[in-house]
Subunit: 277 residues, 2 copies
Amino acid sequence: MNLNPDPKKTNNLLISQPMIERPLILISNDDGITAPGIIALVNAVKDLGEVVVVAPDSPQSGMGHAVTITRPLRLDQTKLYGEIISYQCSGTPADCVKLAVDKVLHRKPDLLLSGINHGSNSSINVLYSGTMSAAMEGAIEGIPAAGFSLCDFSYEANFMLAAKIAREVAINIINNGLPKGVLLNVNIPKTDAASFKGTKVCRQALAKWEEEFDERKDPNGRKYYWLSGKFVNFDNGNDTDEWALSNNFASIVPVHFDLTAHNAIAYLNQWNIKHED
Amino acid sequence: MNLNPDPKKTNNLLISQPMIERPLILISNDDGITAPGIIALVNAVKDLGEVVVVAPDSPQSGMGHAVTITRPLRLDQTKLYGEIISYQCSGTPADCVKLAVDKVLHRKPDLLLSGINHGSNSSINVLYSGTMSAAMEGAIEGIPAAGFSLCDFSYEANFMLAAKIAREVAINIINNGLPKGVLLNVNIPKTDAASFKGTKVCRQALAKWEEEFDERKDPNGRKYYWLSGKFVNFDNGNDTDEWALSNNFASIVPVHFDLTAHNAIAYLNQWNIKHED
C-alpha cells in the first residue's frame, strides 16, 4: 500500500519519503500523560514502531501554540507505560515536542502523534488546541505529524473507534508519507461502530465560539469571570470537518503553518502607507 | 484615500466596509498593560477614534493562541491611560479580546490593534505570538485587526518609527477596510528614519527556531531546562517578511485563520483508510 506518489501529480508538493521499517514514534497530548486518550493512542500504535511518550504532567487544554519562555521546564522519566519510555514535562504540548527531540530522542522521530484528545478540535479549535499545537510543532520541525481528537469530553469516553482510526492514519503516514509542511487534524465523532460511516478528507469549517462569560463574585465580593460559550458553525459546505462529524464521518483536515492570506496581497499593494513627513 | 475596491478585482474576497467617522478602537498586547510598546501605540492612534485598552496585567509572551478555561479571570479598571478607558485582565491576549467585547465594550469594536510588541513576530513567530493571537481573535470575531511588533527586545527600544507605521496602517484600515477574515501582521525593523525604506506587503517566510535547551541544576541537584534557541531562515524569496525586515522595510503580512492545506486534499483522497474489520 505504498502510493509513493509523483510530486507532479500533487500540485508540486514535495512528499516526505515513506519511512523506515520500524519508525521511531513520538506521542504527546494536551490532556496530560495520565489521560485515557493518550493511553488508548499508545496501545493502538505500539506495535508499529518504537514508541516514546513525552507529555505534559498536567492538563494543558486551550494552550494553543504556547511555549514556555519565562520559567524553566522540568522533564522527568515515568514508569506509567511499562517498557515504553515515557517522560512527563511541566510545560505546554509544544514544549514537550521541543524537549523530546532535543533531550530525550536526540534526533527527530519518524512520526509524531498527538492525542487522543478528550473533545473536538475541529474547525477553528485547531487554533486553541494544545493537541494540535504538539502536531504543529512537529510539522515545523519537518516531522510527519497528526493530532487525534474524539468528540466526547467525558473522562469515561469510549476510545475504541478513535484508536482504530488513529492506527489506520498512522499506518498510512508510515507507508505513504505526508506532503512537506502538512500535518493532519483528525477528529472522530462520538458514535458506535455500526453507525460510523468512515473517514472523509475535509477543509476546516468557518465556525467560531460565541462567548458567554459567567460573571460571579468571590467571598470578598470581587467579580471574576469563567469563560464559556457555544460553538456556532457558519459554514454550509458539505466538504467541511463539521459536516463530516455531524454525519458520522471522521474528519481528516490537512493543515499547514503558512498563515499568509496570499490572495489579499494584491489588494494590500494598492494601499498608500506614508512613512516620510 | 478610500479605495473601496470592487470585490471582483480582489479574488472574490469580500472587503469589510470602510468605517464610521469616529471608530471604536480596542487596543491590546501581550507584554502587559504597562509596557512601553502599548503606551506608544495608544498615543499614536488616540486621535483617530475612541480608544479603549484591555490588556494583560502581566507579560504573556509566547502564549500563542492560548485561552483560559481552567481558572477564572479577573478584569479590573485602571487609571493608567488618563481619560482613555483601560482595563487589565489576568488572562491571555485572546482572553482580553473576548472579555473586552463581551464585558467592556458590549459590542464589537470597529478596529482592533495589538502591540506594539517588544521583539519580532515575523515568519513562524506568528504562531507563538500573544500579540498576534489578540489580533487573530479579533479577526475570528469579524473585527478588522492588526498586530504590530518592533524588532527590538529592549525595554528602552525607540518606538517612534513603529508608532508612525502603526498609525498609517490603522488609517488605511479605517479608510479602506480589510478583506473578510484577513488580519495584518506588521513588523518594523530596528532602524532609524533615515535608513528606513518604507513598508512592503509580504508572505510569511519559511523559517523556524532551532532549539537549544539550557540544562541546569537546582539547589537540590534536580535538572531543569530553559528554552532558548536561534532563529533560522530557510527561505530565499525576496517577497518574504524576513527579506523585508533585513532590508530595512517594515513587513505587512496578510494573515488568515483557515489553516487548511487545500492543495493536499487531492493527495490524501488517494489514501485507503480502513475502518471495518
